[in-house]
């Protein structure tokens, strides 16, 4: 692996909200960029804090964001081999305070996010938390927490680095059935961006029912755009201007509740179109529950224009209204989503 084609950063936010970082810089970057890179976890975790403000009873965790990377035709001369970009976030509550371990990984391989996430969540994050108790007992007042955390982040970074390039496995979760509660359409033509959400009618009881299973329609509508911009910013900070991101998967969780967002895209005549689905695990009483592969196939059919959009949306979920779209990139549109779709009554 060429060292130039690997981006790796690990950040820990303690229960006192102090953020510690350890970043693998394979190439010399300007001071300003390094300063900005250190602020990345705050930016990536932005919507997370927003959801906390939205409903403080539920603490949503952004588990992972996966993006493929495409080559930018304008920068043909400096070609990058980087193919995938992952953001992983592990949240662990200790003594009523949240701690976060966040990683971004840019790699030339299609990485296996599950194994990387498990290493972070079950080993690195736990060892930081456990180490605090153990070292406080051993060293008492002489225990230097900062040095300890930096050391553990270095261990974590080495562990993640070692796991990169592992073949992607098929997990049983991928055979799980999901129910789609919304479709997000995104178009980008130069600087003109359009994002729309298709979901249940406002008077459909399913709309309010699923408000308990997601942070909010508002947040789900803005997440793909939000994270795509963050990844693009990150790549620019690492001076990777020859590639641009396409969101593939976002996974959120709250206690035992899980929300998955999957997206497919196509670029034609310099216009990028993408369609994504907001999925929640099967509800037994509902029809239209399918495996992820079914949804991906339907999204490809819409993108390839082989099937009628409205008809395909109804095949995905007959309760989603394919005719009324909610704008997700204007203040007015987002205001409507907040007011009408996120209304619990």
């Amino acid at each position: 692996m060429e060292s130039l084609d690997l981006l790796l950063g690990l950040f820990f936010s303690s229960e006192n909200n102090i953020v510690y970082d350890n970043i693998e810089l394979s190439t010399k970057l300007p001071e300003g960029n390094i300063h900005q890179i250190k602020l990345l976890p705050m930016r990536f975790l932005g919507p997370l804090f927003m959801t906390l403000a939205y409903d403080d009873k539920k603490k949503w965790n952004i588990n992972f964001i996966e993006s493929t990377l495409s080559s930018n035709q304008e920068y043909k001369t400096k070609e990058s081999f980087m193919q995938s970009f992952l953001c992983l976030n592990s949240s662990v509550e200790i003594e009523n305070n949240m701690t976060y371990l966040f990683a971004f990984i840019g790699s030339p391989y299609a990485e296996d996010p599950k194994i990387l996430y498990e290493k972070m969540n079950k080993y690195v994050h736990q060892s930081i938390i456990q180490g605090k108790y153990v070292n406080q007992k051993v060293y008492g007042v002489d225990f230097n927490y900062n040095i300890f955390v930096i050391g553990e982040l270095q261990r974590g970074l080495n562990l993640i680095k070692h796991s990169l390039g592992s073949p992607r496995k098929m997990y049983w979760e991928e055979k799980k059935k999901y129910y789609s509660i919304g479709l997000i359409e995104r178009k980008k033509d130069g600087d003109v961006v359009e994002s729309n959400l298709y979901t249940f009618d406002t008077d459909d009881p399913l709309r309010t029912k699923f408000l308990n299973d997601i942070p909010s329609y508002y947040l789900m509508a803005i997440l793909p755009d939000y994270f795509e911009i963050r990844i693009l910013e990150t790549l620019k900070l690492f001076e990777k201007k020859d590639i641009y991101p396409n969101i593939r998967t976002i996974k959120l969780s709250c206690s035992n509740v899980e929300v998955l967002y999957i997206e497919e895209f196509v670029v034609k005549n310099q216009i990028r179109r993408s369609y994504g689905l907001i999925l929640v695990p099967t509800h037994e009483e509902l029809e239209d529950c399918y495996e992820i592969s079914f949804f991906k196939k339907k999204l490809r059919l819409i993108l390839d224009e082989k099937r009628d959009f409205e008809k395909t949306v109804i095949e995905i979920n007959s309760r989603i209204n394919p005719f009324d779209k909610w704008s997700a990139n204007s203040n007015e549109g987002l205001g409507n989503i907040k007011e009408l779709l996120d209304n619990k009554n």
Partner: protein
Amino acid sequence: MEKVKFKQAFKIDDKRLLWNYNRITRMFKNSDHVEIIAKFLINQSIGFSLNRILDILNYYKPIISKNKTLLDFAFEWVRANKIRFEYKKFINLGTYEDPNSAIDDTIFLFFLDYDKYIREFFIKNISEIEICALYEIFFNPNQVDSTNMNFFLKKNELRVHTIIKENEKVDTNIFTLREGLSSMIKKDYNELHPSKVQIKSEQQKNDIKVLSTITKFDGTMLERLIKSYCFNKQKIVEKELENSISSFLSSFLKFGQIYKYKDFKEKLIRNLTDSLYSGLPENYKFDSLDILISDILVNFERTLKNQKLDGLAWIKDLNPILKDIVIKFIDTL
């Protein structure tokens, strides 16, 4: 990994083992139960003398959980050999750059789920020393000395701790695993990859050379503290602030080395200013910080400027003054 999955991954032939155990029972009808199990384990070549096995079995017998037997424990001892064999095959692949990566990765891959699994064989309040000792017995028999169990556990007391908080045992399994297994993994790594060990030691020699030429105070912690404050607007914990300042000062001033104030004054002011500035987001403005810091340090300079002190003494003297400066700085934000 669920229990069943774990058993499948490291399968032992229960039927054959039971047949063997029954055969030994028939052979030594007059021996007591623990002795028979010890003889059964000798038969399985687990690498200890009979007396040592008896000592270990007698120690763990009273702390085995109600739904498990001493024979179950013995079977797990045999399974541990299987796990060790698989683990050694894996580490032999040699993809690790250093022993620390090998320790973390193999603990995650082989022993983290094992830890959950094996703890089910014991009573809930088993101490971490006992678990740690078990790992050494099961996986690193060559390192377990010939003294009796109580001496062996006593030796581990300083390294492994059982932490109780509000009447609840704090989970410290990763640290117990590291204490119990690190020396084995390191030893295996060094034996299997001698060439990598040599390269690493040469690199370390070079690193030492670099360390001896430290030229600035490292204010990364301070910078991070200010940054977190500006973003979250959360009150800074005093302990965090003290740690950050200690870290800043100790990055340059070393215990056992003698300094004069003028040797590091300029560096101290410049590096402190830089660290505080770089913690600020773009929208914050703060001018002439370096002048402000040197003004505050004037009194200190008057009393101590001609003294020659050890690095540690300078750290102790400067710590409260810098703390005061940083607090004043934060108050202005």
